[in-house]
C-alpha cells in the first residue's frame, strides 16, 4: 500500500518513535526512511554516532535514542527530507522540520499543520527559523509547536491563505 500512496500508516510512523513517550521529553530524531535506497548521509553526519546503516548503504537506518541528542544535523543532511526532530514540552509537541519552499515562515506566525496525506490537521506556531546557509546547504530548519495529540500526525507546515 505504501508503494502506491507514499503515505506511511500510523503503525509505520509509530515504529519510528520511541516506544516510551517520556523519551521525547528530550528532543529525538524521527527517521522516516521506509524504503531501502542507497543512501547514508544521516549515519555519516551524526556527530554522536546515534544512527547506524552499515556497510550496505541500502539498509534502513536504525537510531539509538540514548545517543541521539536531537541536535538536528541529520534533519538537513537527509537528501530525502525524511527526518524531523520531535519533543514533548509542557504538554505540547515540538518539531524541527526541513523546509525548502518560499516564502519562509517567521517566528511567532501561525501556520497550518499538515499530515502525511497532505491534509491540514490543525494550526501551529512557528517557534524558530534557522535559515538556509552554507552549512545546511540551503535547507531551512523550522521549529514549530502544536497540540500533543497530533504527535504522530504532523509532518509539515503550510502557509495560511488570508
Amino acid at each position: 500500500m505504501f508503494e502506491k500512496t507514499a503515505v506511511a500508516t500510523k503503525e509505520m510512523v509509530k515504529s519510528r518513535f520511541p516506544k516510551d513517550k517520556k523519551v521525547l521529553f528530550r528532543p529525538k530524531a524521527i527517521i522516516e526512511c521506509y524504503h531501502e535506497i542507497p543512501c547514508n548521509p544521516c549515519e555519516t553526519s551524526c556527530p554522536f554516532h546515534a544512527i547506524t546503516i552499515g556497510e550496505d548503504i541500502n539498509a534502513i537506518p536504525q537510531i539509538d535514542f540514548d545517543k541521539c541528542t536531537g541536535c538536528g544535523i541529520c534533519v538537513h543532511s537527509c537528501p530525502g527530507l525524511a527526518i524531523m526532530v520531535a519533543m514533548i514540552k509542557n504538554g505540547k509537541a515540538y518539531f524541527k522540520i526541513p523546509y525548502e519552499l518560499l516564502p519562509l515562515p517567521k517566528v511567532n506566525e501561525r501556520w497550518l499543520a499538515v499530515d502525511r496525506n497532505g491534509d491540514v490537521i490543525s494550526d501551529c506556531k512557528i517557534e524558530q527559523v534557522m535559515t538556509a546557509k552554507k552549512s545546511t546547504n540551503h535547507t531551512t530548519v523550522v521549529t514549530v509547536s502544536l497540540e500533543q495529540p497530533y504527535l504522530y500526525d504532523f509532518v509539515t507546515i503550510r502557509r495560511k491563505h488570508e
Binding site: 525548502e100 519552499l101 518560499l102 538556509a132 540551503h138 531551512t140
Partner: protein
C-alpha cells in the same frame, strides 16, 4: 514568467539582450539561449512538423529532438535551445507561414 525568488537557486537576470523574432522586438537576458528567451516571451509554437504541419513546441531543450530549429541571422536550422542569445540577433521561425 521569470522566477524572482527561489529557495535554492540564484538567477542573474541583469543584462538585457535585444533581439527580434519574426520582426518583433523582444528582450531576453544574458546567458539565455534563444529558445529560453522566446519561451519567456510567451512563444510556445516553435516549429511545424514537416509532413502534417502540426505545431511543435520545445520537447527536450538540450539539443536532441530538433523541435526548435529556426533561422538565426540568416543561418537555417539552428538549434535555438543550444545557441546563446546575442544582441540584435534576428530569429525567424521556419514555419510554413511566418506569422506566429
Amino acid at each position: 514568467m521569470r522566477i524572482k525568488e527561489h529557495p535554492i537557486l540564484n538567477f542573474n537576470h541583469q543584462k538585457e539582450i535585444h533581439f527580434t523574432y519574426n520582426g518583433r522586438a523582444m528582450i531576453g537576458y544574458e546567458g539565455d539561449t534563444i529558445a529560453a528567451a522566446l519561451y519567456d516571451n510567451g512563444i510556445r509554437h516553435f516549429s511545424d512538423s514537416v509532413l502534417h504541419k502540426r505545431p511543435r513546441g520545445l520537447y527536450c531543450a538540450i539539443g536532441n529532438c530538433g523541435s526548435c530549429y529556426m533561422q538565426v541571422n540568416g543561418n537555417d536550422n539552428v538549434k535555438t535551445c543550444m545557441t546563446l542569445l546575442e544582441e540584435n540577433m534576428e530569429v525567424i521561425s521556419e514555419m510554413s507561414e511566418n506569422d506566429d
